[in-house]
Symmetry: C2
Subunit: 183 residues, 2 copies
Amino acid sequence: MLCSGWAFRHVQLSNGGRQILKFLFPGDVVFSETLLSQAEASNPSYSAKALTDIQLCSFSAGALREKCRSYEIAAQALLQMLTEDVRTAYELVTVLGQHAAEGRIAHLLLSLMRRVSQQALAVDRRYPFPLRQQHVADAVGLTPVHVSRVLTSFRDRGLLTLGDGMLVFHDLAQLDRIASLQS
Amino acid sequence: MLCSGWAFRHVQLSNGGRQILKFLFPGDVVFSETLLSQAEASNPSYSAKALTDIQLCSFSAGALREKCRSYEIAAQALLQMLTEDVRTAYELVTVLGQHAAEGRIAHLLLSLMRRVSQQALAVDRRYPFPLRQQHVADAVGLTPVHVSRVLTSFRDRGLLTLGDGMLVFHDLAQLDRIASLQS
DNA sequence: CGGACCTTTGAGCGTTATCAAGTAGTGTGG
DNA sequence: CCACACTACTTGATAACGCTCAAAGGTCCG
């Protein structure tokens, strides 16, 4: 489990690319979807990487499974965690299936910052942002080149500023509109 | 829970479109990800539709949650179901993020038929296929027009035949290659 | 026969990928 | 202190891809 810092879960693809599945913040379990499977018979090559310096708390998956047998609370917590994972995965599916590049990137930035700040986003407040444009590209299924173009366009339109590990929103209303596909 | 027939789970979008999240076969729980939440506070408008005549077995979600407290087996089954949902959702994310149109459609057709046949696919065997091209489009994030073009191309290349509610694979090796992005 | 729905096909265009070059910033070693 | 490499980002030109709009054919059903 991640205790401090940022990380992400991804699949490594045979053609050299990768798809980022989830960004991990403190409190997130790194491989929640494989907690139960003792055999680890998952064919895709799941992996995880740190984006900043991180601290981990490790625990025994076997012991947790054992706890789930005796303590109902452990099972309930695990069920809620997985339910949340399914919901956010479906949200990502919707974004990838329905949004063009601008909507994908706007959605990613907004949802990341909402998760990390745990409260409403503020205009002109600076948020730490340790991702490279390559990570954004791998998360939303675009090339780094195109991510750069979209971010430059956002900057030129006065929507946000992104650089030096900092992200500043200037026009949240407009970004929400872009991210929410009311065409 | 679906007992017979085909159905699918989707989100209805504000702009009139929809994203299909999962195709449902007998044994699948229609809304597995909302089984636990009593409040139903999910903002996206999840929905489900039948593709064929279907039969449902209904049960009380409250009673199931109650069972999870007392019977460890119920909790274990629910956990496995959700874990599987997370895995397949991540697979769909990878497909949408990394594949072009041909790969997306090939992947969808192959994985659907693998799920429905529960065994290795056979060349030149006919599989029932109740989806319209509109459904394929909504599942993989393309327009029906482009789905038609890709399917026509598959047909012209002798890879498969799709029509009249039937799907016939002619070149599984080639289709697997297209679906597995070894560029 | 008419209408509704699905599919196919064409033309044009917008979006995104690819390839390539150029610009910083940063750290390394002479 | 200055080449040098290395990485990240930007920008341009070109091409592939997929969308939109439109028309036509097919099937089914009233």
